[in-house]
Amino acid sequence: MSQFAHAQMPDDGFTMSKGELCLVAAYQQTKWTEYWEGTRLRDNKNLGTFTSKAIMPMFGYGITNRINVFGGLPYIYNSSSTGTMQGKKGWQDLSLAVKYHALKKTKGKYTWNVFATAGFSIPVSDYPPDFLPFSIGLGSKTAQLRVIGHVKHTSNFFLTAQTGYVFRSNIKVDRQTYYTDAQYYSNEMAIPNVWNGSLSAGYDNKHFRADVHYGWNNATSGSDMRRNDMPYPGNRMEMSAIGITAKFWMPFVDGLAINAGADQVVSGRNAGKGFTWMAGLQFVFKPFNKKTHEK
């Protein structure tokens, strides 16, 4: 599962004004044939190519000019091209986040912005988390805090740096006993917390926005997959990726935009070396008053 190509509304350096509602429908697909078993990159002819497809409905809303809320709920379908293992599909985790525009300062040709985001997520179905890599999620409840720094030049070029910490709850699995680095007589598994972030550089005007970025997503604990073992949700999963995203505002329909992006995982641990692309439609409007939206 790519962590990067999601339309990054809670993570980006942009904001919606009061009363604006943003609806997004996106499709995302990740494929990998190689994965890191611990730190060893390998392939597996009994998986062939692993594919994860996701449909992602999302929304964002400007409660005030400085406070935005976001939500999303992906539907995921995971499968492999070879082997005998069952694919898995279903609605995954509902996520909600609040983004606060803490600081805005213009000095000379630069406008400086600082945002803080707090969010949580919760599984909406009882999908099995302990059937990786086919499980559609880890089954964990999460909460996160994030800070975002964004600077934009009058030439419309911008830089964004963001980082966050994700707390993840332990989960219950169907197995009663499992071995990782030791034997655990438990149906509870510890899911590592995650430290993630990204750096992006891009261009933004009223017609389009595009950026290139580098992102990382690192577990802060967990064990490595043993050689030729199955993965499990408590593994120390890490990856870093480079990618691009772009958004084009449609010229004839006010508030309608096309989103697209792609990411390539470049390093990892207990994770697939995935290539992800996504595409989506976004519609921004003010449902509750008649003022025109501000892009």
């Binding site: 005998t84 409840k141 999460t142 009663q176 438990s186 509870e188 043993r226 073992d229």
Partner: protein, 513 residues
Amino acid sequence: MKNKFFIIAAIAALSGVASCNKNIDVRTLEDFEPLTLDSTGGNWKTILLTDGGEVSISAPDAVTSPAYIAELNKIVEAQSQINSADRTAIDKWKNSGIILWNEKARELVAKYNLPPEANPDGTYPAPSAANPAAYPKFPFANPPYASRAFAYVSAATYDALVSCWKYKFQYNRKSPAVNDSRIKRNETIQDNLPSYPSEDAVIAQVNYRLLKVLFPLDSVELEKMAIEQKKAKQLSGVASATDIAAGEIIANFVVEKTLARFRTDGMGVAGGNPTIWAQLEGAAAGHGTSVPWKSLESPVRPPMLPLFGNVKLWNISTAQRDSLRPGPAPSIGSAEFNAALDELRNYTKNPSGETWRIAMYWADGAGTYTPPGHWNEIAADLMVTYRMNELRVARTMSLMNMAIADAGICCWDTKSYYYVPRPTQMDGSIKTIGLPNFPSYTSGHSTFSGAAATVLGYIFPQEKPKLEAMAAEASVSRIYGGIHYRFDCEVGLKCGKAIGSFAVKRGQNDGSH
């Protein structure tokens, strides 16, 4: 105002999960003291020994002798220097030592239960006992390996404890803390259970020596465990140095006898070779299987231990094995066969919550303690609940694990004889929870579970209905997982029960009633 809103939202979001830590709740066994003494246990029928007296143990020094008093003095001195690590060790070993060693064996099975990865040329490397650290590490502790390991350790522990019990009540020398009021009781001591020879030394030494043969890469840690157990029992006032030494003599004798059987039981050639694999495939048609089993792994992997069915049995003869071998599976293409395939298409296309839960609960696949390990855990829970002494724990474990090993041998014999293809080989659309790499008919889970539940149901009659339900659920879990036809499971469960009844018969006649 805006700040407050954000802070409240942040706190609300975090309070749900930030309180969580990474500790997990693990099941632990309750402390208990045994209910019975079994003072005539030294007369119980043994498995590998002719009887408990086959190894001779000389009479201990009298409790009034200077030599014994010197031993007691040493314990008094050692107790005066006890530290917190010692207390932890005493606490750790105060219940059933056999169950602790069994937990260790289960952990080692899980640790080594990983199928070797293919070589770049598409062949598969095999682990080597002569070079255990080279990849793939020795052993590959798959279910047959595990069943055999548990059986040898349990049978040897039982025999050695029968002998231990014989000399305990023959010589009747009590624990140091009973003989000398200066010695503290750092754990509950059974005053009526003689301590010469030490049952804990027997258990430590048998388990250490056999497990280090089975899992050589962990021999250092195993030795530490054995030393810790023996030391804890001296510090707790249960056993003296000569109690321990006498226990070790019995253990070493039994281990030598056990290893002689172990090294010649046929396991060394159970993996077969390309000629044998081709022969098994070719013989299938003559045994009623028109489409022989093929590995669905890539690269094609040789079948797991196809000649495990020829390994020496515990409670039944080879002729009995052959007569226990079920008739052929429904022929491929028959209405019954197709109905079995249809059922699997349903379960694997629509895995519902409960069938999925059952499939996962009993999966016990690669990287786990296997179905034999699962049944050892079930047995351990019952033995604690019913507060068995070490001799009865050893008897229960040996009867169950011999039955489980015999079940594995008989089941593998059937698998290799008929060489029935897995459901997925007949219909590639049947996807599974992870497909084992050996023939389908009959189900190993079902045979292991039928045998284990039959033995445990005999020993714990109050639990019989529950145990039988567990075995039935373990059996049907393989249908839910898309791995086995219903007939694999039903026939396997029935065979397992029949195999278990041979162990029950041994139990009924071993003098323990």
